[in-house]
């Protein structure tokens, strides 16, 4: 089973700052890491490879430094990496990114499955995975929390939805985006690091991929950041306080009443 995994390099989130004027993130001096949610896609990809054999290719679109993220994925157990990079991609939104990734994937023959994380922790859109599937006209399943069964033609997977799970049978090749529940990412090993160090990462750009340049970069992106605002928290908390030992049971009574009124405890079905 040959697998393609889409990853993104993101700023380490505890240090993110925004440029209020341009509405984009300030990435200077901030450590870049693999989007934490992509690690679950990498892990589940490696598990599938361990079970069914095959090869894993990790792809990212980003600046030259994003090579580091690909190497990290290889050190975890992926086989190859492809970096899509060049000035023409700068400022690409999710649509332009999906377009470029899809065209690059068209060049890779013989894949059965594409995996991606649920969303990136910086942009938070969750659009690129579905976007790529749409450009490639592939079956798509998002929020996958478990791979149940894999056969030659299909993959059966559990999809996390708000009030439970859906079981889907998806024809291969397909694109799945996965959620945290699916796996526990492994750590890179020393042997993996050594292998990654030796692995050459090819850089693809408009020179290698057939791309319409007018559909790339900031200019080719339909998305416009009009304004950046900060959401205001409108919730109000209530603190139920007991002032002394005697008032404890009365206080608990008030708390119980609140829980009842708000119907916070549901009876089992």
């Amino acid at each position: 089973m040959n697998i393609i995994i889409l990853i993104k390099q993101v700023p380490e989130t505890s240090n993110v700052k925004m440029d209020e004027e341009t509405g984009t993130m300030i990435r200077d001096g901030v450590e870049s890491i693999i989007n934490p949610l992509d690690l679950y896609a990498i892990e589940v990809g490696i598990q599938l490879k361990e079970k069914f054999g095959g090869k894993i290719t990790v792809i990212t679109l980003g600046p030259p430094g994003a090579e580091k993220a690909l190497k990290e994925a290889i050190s975890m157990g992926c086989d190859d990496g492809i970096l899509i990079s060049g000035r023409e991609f700068k400022g690409s939104d999710t649509w332009a990114t999906s377009y470029a990734l899809a065209e690059a994937i068209k060049k890779i023959e013989n894949y059965d499955l594409i995996l991606a994380g649920e969303r990136a922790t910086d942009g938070d859109t969750g659009q690129v995975g579905p976007g790529v599937a749409s450009f490639l006209n592939l079956a798509l399943a998002t929020y996958i929390s478990k791979i149940v069964e894999v056969s030659d033609k299909n993959i059966i997977a559990e999809r996390l939805v708000e009030d439970g799970y859906e079981i889907l049978r998806v024809p291969l090749p397909a694109l799945l985006t996965v959620v945290k529940e699916i796996s526990f990412p492994r750590l890179p090993t020393l042997r993996g690091k050594q292998k990654a160090k030796k692995t050459e990462i090819p850089v693809w750009s408009t020179e290698n991929i057939e791309l319409d340049k007018s559909k790339l970069g900031l200019k080719g992106s339909p998305t416009r950041v009009v304004k950046i605002g900060h959401p205001r928290v409108t919730r109000n908390g209530t603190i139920v306080k007991a002032t002394d030992d005697e008032s404890i049971s009365e206080t608990i009574g008030r708390l119980l009443k609140f829980i009842q009124e708000k119907e916070l405890i549901q009876r089992g079905h």
Binding site: I33, I34, P36, S75, L187, P188, T189, L190
Partner: protein, 472 residues
């Protein structure tokens, strides 16, 4: 009792010195000042009053009053100690420096910082990181502890192999002596040999010789890169015997070598819901190297990793970015917390031996564990010989039995460390907890000399009495 109580008259005088908002006598409020991070029911003692002064002058006035009236004074930082240093064992007045938390000066030209004692040590590093500087003396309990407490305990921590402990970075101090004088010691000087080195005598004196009111710390350039290795071994012996080898054979001084036995790793991983393959490892080492060149740091990590693999390591994991580094360090950092969930009754120890003898210490721990039928998870700063062997109460024992077992097993643990040329505490201090064991660690002559020094500073024995040793 040789001390006098804190009467209403004394309270009125305290209010006059620091204002009523800085004097606490409410039982509920002062309860928080009766304990540190050790089990409360065993070690806590209520103060009679707590004051939160804002200046050295106020502290000097309070201490003068206490000295005149023979009232014990206990200085207190963040209360994150593990030896009872901040517990007012004779009641009296607790002087908490929590309101003296200003950063007075950042002197980039001289690479020093002047701090009030209540500054949270971790905040210092967050503040100067963007100037590519750091204070290298910070201990493991980094998120809460105060610099004043670090000085009083001469705190160590996980980076001591390369960077040493608190004392190395203290260039100057201002203290209030037990007589209530304000004295400046040292300054912004790297070298200073004028007279006795009283500044370093204060460092690690556990608040028995005076109260630190100002600290001048040395800053160091922040290394740009670090790589961590998490190395899995089949058993404790193969992990521990690796430590002296790494230190003597690679030509590399790692920033830290932390050891974790199976029980420690399992307990922490379960607590964190971390799915590292801990089941297959009998023990682990967490090794960190740092430096300014990415390739050098990565080469150093590789050299150490290869040496471990050559000596039977099961697996070597490499963490060279924030995500993976946080993941593996959080296993190490959460061990103590995880054990508190398992059993609140335990004795967290910090014995230390010369690095070459760490392997010899481990069988001793196993013997004590077997003899008294208690678990002794062991983890800690193996790279500097400082191990957190922790005695955990067997759930089957009653509290009375546990206290007896604890006292006996502690004595044997300390004696084992001593026999290997080590000592009973590497970084937590003696405080009230270990003072009965001082004779295992130091000679009678040395102890007498310490008493004479204490007497010279504090003739009335009002400054943090009942700590380190008794006066007679």
């Amino acid at each position: 009792m040789k001390y006098n109580p804190v009467t209403n008259k004394i309270i009125a005088k305290l209010v006059k010195i620091v204002d009523s908002k800085n004097v606490l006598t409410d039982k509920e409020k002062i309860e928080a000042y009766s304990h540190d991070e050790m089990p409360r029911e065993q070690y806590a003692h209520m103060p009679e009053a707590v004051v939160t002064p804002e200046t050295a002058e106020e502290i000097a006035e309070i201490v003068k009053l206490a000295n005149k009236e023979l009232i014990p004074v206990t200085p207190r930082g963040a209360g994150s100690g593990l030896s009872g240093g901040a517990i007012p064992v004779f009641g009296g007045i607790v002087i908490s420096v929590e309101k003296m938390n200003k950063i007075l000066e950042i002197d980039y030209e001289n690479m020093v910082m002047v701090l009030e004692p209540g500054v949270v040590t971790n905040d210092v590093n967050e503040l100067i990181a963007e100037r590519n500087l750091f204070y290298a003396g910070y201990p493991m309990s980094l998120e809460t502890c105060f610099i004043g407490g670090n000085v009083a305990e001469n705190a160590g921590g996980g980076k001591a192999i390369k960077y040493g402990v608190t004392g190395r970075y203290i260039l100057g101090l201002e203290i209030v002596t037990p007589a209530g004088e304000i004295i400046q010691l040292g300054g912004k000087l790297v070298k200073d040999v004028v007279g006795y080195n009283i500044k370093q005598l204060i460092v690690g004196s556990e608040g028995t010789l005076g109260i630190v009111t100002k600290v001048i710390v040395k800053l160091s350039p922040l290394p740009k890169y670090k790589v961590d290795l998490l190395v899995l071994f089949k058993d404790v012996k193969s992990a521990i015997s690796m430590v002296p080898q790494i230190l003597t054979k690679t030509g590399i001084t790692p920033t830290s070598i932390e050891f974790m036995d199976k029980l420690s790793v399992q307990t922490s991983c379960r607590y964190l819901n971390e799915h590292l393959p801990y089941q297959k490892a009998g023990a682990m080492l967490l090794i960190e190297v740092d430096g300014n060149r990415e390739d050098h740091v990565s080469d150093d990590a590789e050299t150490i990793g290869e040496l471990c693999l050559k000596n039977g390591a099961i697996e070597v994991y490499v963490a060279d970015n924030y995500t993976t580094q946080e993941r593996i360090w959080s296993v190490r950092r959460n061990i103590a917390e995880a054990f508190k969930v398992v059993s609140p009754h335990q004795s967290l120890e910090d014995i230390v031996v010369p690095i070459a003898y760490i392997p010899d210490l481990m069988p001793e721990l196993a013997l004590i564990s077997k003899k008294y039928d208690i678990q002794i998870p062991c983890y800690g700063h193996a790279g500097d010989g400082n191990l957190h062997a922790t005695l955990v109460k067997n759930p089957r024992s009653t509290m009375k039995e546990w206290y007896e077992i604890e006292a006996k097993s502690l004595k044997e643990l300390y004696e084992s460390a001593r026999e290997l040329g080590g000592t009973i505490s590497g970084e937590h201090g003696i405080g009230s907890k270990r003072k009965d064991f001082m004779e295992i660690a130091v000679s009678k002559n040395e102890l007498d000399l310490m008493r004479r020094i204490k007497k010279a500073f504090d003739p009335n024995d009002i400054m943090n009495p009942g700590k380190i040793f008794d006066m007679e």
